[in-house]
């Protein structure tokens, strides 16, 4: 297991000081962490909790006051370790006067990649992040989501073993968010280690294997997501092929009471807004011309093709005329 430790911090402390050396803020206090190969590790915490400071210390953008940060077994201040790291900052801090191809070529050069390799990788990554149509536009003209995509592409230009993502879903629409999360999961499948910090807890929950929760520069919680989120005092069950009615509720309550439990809630599950949104966008692509029709008085919501109304508030263009 020791060989599988990709990132290790020992008593890592960062204190911000003013010009005269007076202490301004303890950003991180004695952080001890181990991040293993192939896992997706999430750093959580409120603003100013030390998440970004931790990432900057791991990247050598800041120097620790005490303790040390080791990446691939080397001190984080060593430049050589960067050969195996991909970093996506919170904002895509890229040169906005370059286009996508030039951007990736520039970062490829920084990895000392030969020209043909740079071209191949740039093309592959541009396709992967879905910017093939816009690869000749300068980044200044990109939307925030597009910049985030090209930012991710530059982070992957060297096919890194460790990917560090600072707020990777920031500025992305739900489709982009899902795409980013899928991509993070794909990176894990490829055996890469991912460290991400995010304010969007649902994103972290969806993709992370382990998380660390920081507050005021101190580590508050560390562990596997499913273990940390498990509520051992409650039991959840799902069933299908049933209609909910009072008799069923009463019977279940009796059974649960027999085992010392108590029925807290029973009802039909709801989907997430994200799933709903993604399904609608998908359907609109599959059925061009459909649009939402407001239900007439006394009618249930219905589409012109009589499909299930929930999640499909669309009607085909010109349906009224046809029908």
């Amino acid at each position: 297991m020791a060989n599988d430790v990709i990132v290790e911090t020992r008593n890592l402390t960062k204190i911000y000081r003013d010009f005269w050396g007076r202490q301004k803020k303890v950003a991180l206090r004695a952080l001890n962490l181990e991040i293993y190969r192939g896992e997706i590790f999430g750093l959580l915490g409120p603003n100013g909790s030390g998440k970004t400071t931790t990432i900057k210390l791991l990247l050598g953008l800041l120097f620790p006051n005490e303790g040390e940060a080791l990446v691939f077994g080397e001190p984080a201040t060593q430049v050589k370790k960067n050969e195996r790291i991909g970093y996506l900052p919170e904002e895509s801090y890229l040169y906005r006067f370059l286009n996508a191809e030039e951007t990736l070529d520039f970062y490829g050069r920084l990895f000392d990649l030969p020209a043909d390799q740079r071209r191949q990788r740039a093309q592959k990554l541009i396709d992967m992040v879905g910017l093939s149509q816009d690869k000749r536009r300068i980044l200044k003209e990109y939307s925030k989501g597009m910049r985030q995509r090209i930012g991710l592409a530059q982070a992957l230009i060297n096919d890194p073993d460790l990917v560090i993502l600072d707020e990777p879903t920031s500025g992305l629409d739900p489709i982009g968010t899902r795409w980013m999360k899928d991509l993070i999961l794909d990176l894990r499948k490829e055996g890469k280690t991912v460290i991400m910090c995010s304010h969007r807890l649902e994103d972290v929950q969806d993709v992370c294997d382990r998380i660390a929760i920081l507050n005021e520069g101190e580590l508050q919680e560390l562990g596997k997501v499913d273990v940390l989120l498990e509520d051992a005092n409650r039991v959840e069950m799902r069933a299908s092929g049933l209609r909910l009615n009072d008799e069923l509720r009463r019977d279940l309550d009796e059974v649960l009471q027999r085992y010392g439990g108590k029925l807290e809630f029973i009802g039909h599950p709801t989907t997430t807004l994200e799933d709903l949104f993604l399904r609608i966008v998908k359907e609109s692509k599959e059925h061009p011309g459909r649009r939402y029709l407001p239900p007439k008085e006394g009618e249930d919501k219905k589409t012109d093709d009589g499909e299930k109304p929930i999640g499909s508030p669309f009607a085909k263009e010109g349906a009224d005329a046809e029908g």
């Binding site: 620790p64 970093y87 801090y93 006067f97 050069r109 920084l110 000392d112």
Partner: protein, 639 residues
């Protein structure tokens, strides 16, 4: 005509290179030691630090630095004991070399990690950024100069070219310097502010590569810009050159300068002590000693150009200059033969067309000594041979040159009397080529040529400076020389870019730019600052000057030794000490101003460019690159 090359400071030569290197080591070594002490103190006081290099190299740096510090301290003790001790120099020099090596060790280690591809990528980014952000449009301001400058320039035919050359260089210089300073000073701070630096330093990029890449990028950009502007300027300057101006300056003279000695030099009371004066009354002479000459032996004549200052104590003749005698002497000349020389010259003037038989007949008639006959036969033979060689030349000119060549061949001397000299006008003499012929009887330890100038006109003074008289070795292309002159400006651009980038690794863009410009402006007045720092300027330091102003005491009158005066003088001494410390930080900008050469039609020797311009600049910029390395390496990028 008015081609004057005023060189107040003799350009450095290859022979001075060891001395230059020694001076550089001594000057830089002290700064290196001070810098190293600061770095060690800074790292000791600030716990949040990244290693500057690997642990063994850092240990070696500390060890070498400690030894050097001891050596420098020992040199100080030796100096206090005996300021003339030769040992002190060696101890001091060893300490300096050790300190420089100690400071350079981390950089040398870092050099192995540098990759050209990364440096080039960063250079290209600088290039693209400036172009795509349309920074270069600022240079269109020069179009105003090209379009309207001629409206305001005084038109005198022979001055035309010089005025235009000066104007375009004066217009180009501030614009290019300021833009280069702005671009360089704001580049790294902008990357830090916009955090684009984060995505760069998290790649395997050595921080020194960022400094080098930025420097290279902006230097390339400004080189391209300057090349285009220089080409336009050349077209502007060269179009429709007045023939008088072309004769004056549309060339690149290759001069051979001698070393000037003036016998009992006279002062005419001028404040600028550049020229020394000779006069007919005292009979004092000006000697130019030429220690090295190119091979002139195959030439019929060698042009000697000169321009002198005339200080008149009487009006003289309207529209006339004063008269001087010019004497060219080689090691073959024997002053005991002066009488023969004068007699032969008169005889030859009267018998230029004589044949050998005529000479022999005359010899028999006048009963010459045999050696006189032989000598005059040789003179006549030389004249005939010369005539055969130069059939196409005009007769009168050819005859005079033939006579001069014959005498020069025989005696190793050429004398021209009553040559009219006009105030600040470039005139010339065609010295006979046979003067420079090798005959094997030269005394090897004597310089190959002396040129002696005497003033003949009574009551007038002739002012001479070392570069007022020279032999014209060649005339080269003005166009090429114009671009060579631009190299001086290019070197200043490199200086500004490197200094601004080194400073911007720690300071903000605005401060970096201001400090760079302050250094540049200080460099323009480096001579004045040096004279203040060394206490050689009249009027003393700032407090003494203020006191003199307040008391209305002129700079030459000693001040009363009151307690206030002593206090002021003491404070000035401290001020001078501080200024001396910073003297080496100020760049010698004036050194790189080569406009004078181009404007006056003098070739800029490539060797001089390398030794006198490139090498001192490289020596100066090495220090700034080291500063850039240490500052950026020690800096927290995300702080």
């Amino acid at each position: 005509m008015f081609a004057v090359l005023v060189i107040e400071r003799e350009p450095l030569t290859w022979a001075q290179l060891p001395g230059m290197v020694q001076l550089w080591i001594e000057g830089t070594g002290v700064y290196a030691m001070a810098g190293l002490v600061l770095v060690v103190l800074f790292r000791a006081l600030r716990p949040a630090n990244a290693p500057l290099c690997s642990a063994p190299i850092w240990k070696a740096t500390l060890f070498l630095g400690s030894v050097s510090l001891l050596l420098l301290a020992a040199a100080g003790v030796l100096y206090a004991a005996d300021s003339t001790s030769e040992n002190r120099s060696w101890v001091f020099r060893s300490g300096c070399i050790g300190a420089i090596t100690a400071v350079l060790l981390p950089i040398l280690e870092n050099l192995f990690s540098l990759r050209w591809r990364r440096i080039w990528a960063l250079a290209i980014i600088s290039f693209k950024e400036a172009i795509r952000r349309k920074v270069l449009w600022v240079f269109s301001a020069l179009a105003l100069v090209f379009l309207f400058a001629s409206w305001y320039l005084p038109y005198t035919p022979q001055y035309q070219l010089r005025s235009y050359v000066n104007t375009v260089y004066r217009a180009m210089t501030p614009l290019l310097i300021v833009v280069a300073g702005l671009l360089a000073a704001f580049s790294i701070p902008a990357d830090l502010r916009h955090q684009t630096m984060h995505t760069i330093v998290t790649k395997p990029v050595e921080r020194f590569e960022i400094v080098l890449g930025r420097c290279l990028g902006y230097i390339l950009l400004m080189t391209l810009v300057q090349f285009v502007i220089t080409a336009f300027s050349l077209v502007y300057v060269a179009r429709g050159v007045d023939p008088a101006a072309a004769e004056e300056s549309y060339k690149a003279r290759v001069p051979v300068f001698g070393e000037l000695t003036v016998e009992r030099a006279k002062s005419v009371g001028r404040e600028w002590g550049y020229r020394k004066y000779i006069t007919a009354e005292t009979g004092n002479r000006a000697f130019w000693v030429f220690h090295e000459l190119p091979d002139f032996s195959k030439r019929n004549s060698v042009r000697c150009e000169f321009e002198f200052d005339i200080f008149r104590t009487t009006k003289g003749v309207q529209g006339r200059g004063i008269y001087c005698t010019f004497v060219f002497e080689t090691p073959r000349w024997n002053s005991k033969r002066l009488n023969d020389y004068n007699i032969d010259r008169e005889w030859l003037s009267a018998n230029l067309s004589a044949r050998e038989a005529d000479v022999r007949a005359q010899s028999e008639r006048e009963r010459w000594f045999p050696e006189t006959l032989q000598r005059r036969l040789r003179l006549i033979q030389t004249i005939q041979a010369f005539r055969a060689q130069t059939e196409k030349r005009e007769t009168s000119d050819r005859d005079q040159l033939a006579l001069a060549n014959a005498l020069a061949d025989e005696y190793g001397r050429y004398e021209l009397r009553s040559k009219e000299v006009r105030d600040y006008h470039t005139l010339f003499i065609d010295a006979p080529g046979r003067l420079f012929a090798k005959k094997g009887d030269e005394t090897s330890d004597r310089p190959p040529l002396f040129v002696i100038v005497r003033c003949e006109s009574p009551t007038q003074y002739l002012g001479v400076a070392e570069h007022d008289l020279y032999l014209l070795a060649d005339e080269r292309s003005f166009e090429v020389n114009f671009f060579k002159g631009a190299i001086g400006l290019w070197l200043r651009i490199c200086l500004v870019i490197t200094v601004a980038i080194a400073l911007s690794t720690y300071l903000t863009g605005v401060i970096s730019f201001l400090v760079t410009m302050m250094l540049y402006l200080a460099g323009l007045t480096a001579n004045f600052i040096q004279s203040v720092a060394e206490g050689t300027i009249q009027g003393g330091g700032p407090l003494e000057s203020a006191l003199r102003l307040a008391k209305q005491v002129n700079p030459l009158v000693p001040l009363d030794q009151t307690p206030t005066t002593r206090l002021f003088l003491g404070v000035d001494e401290v001020f001078r000490f501080v200024m001396r410390l910073f003297l080496n930080v100020i760049p010698d900008v004036e050194r790189h101003d080569l406009t004078n050469y181009v404007a006056n039609g003098f070739d800029i020797p490539v060797g001089q460019l390398v030794v006198d311009n490139v090498m001192p600049l490289v020596g100066y910029l090495i220090g700034w690159m080291v500063v850039g390395f240490y500052l950026l390496k020690s800096r927290e990028i995300a702080a």
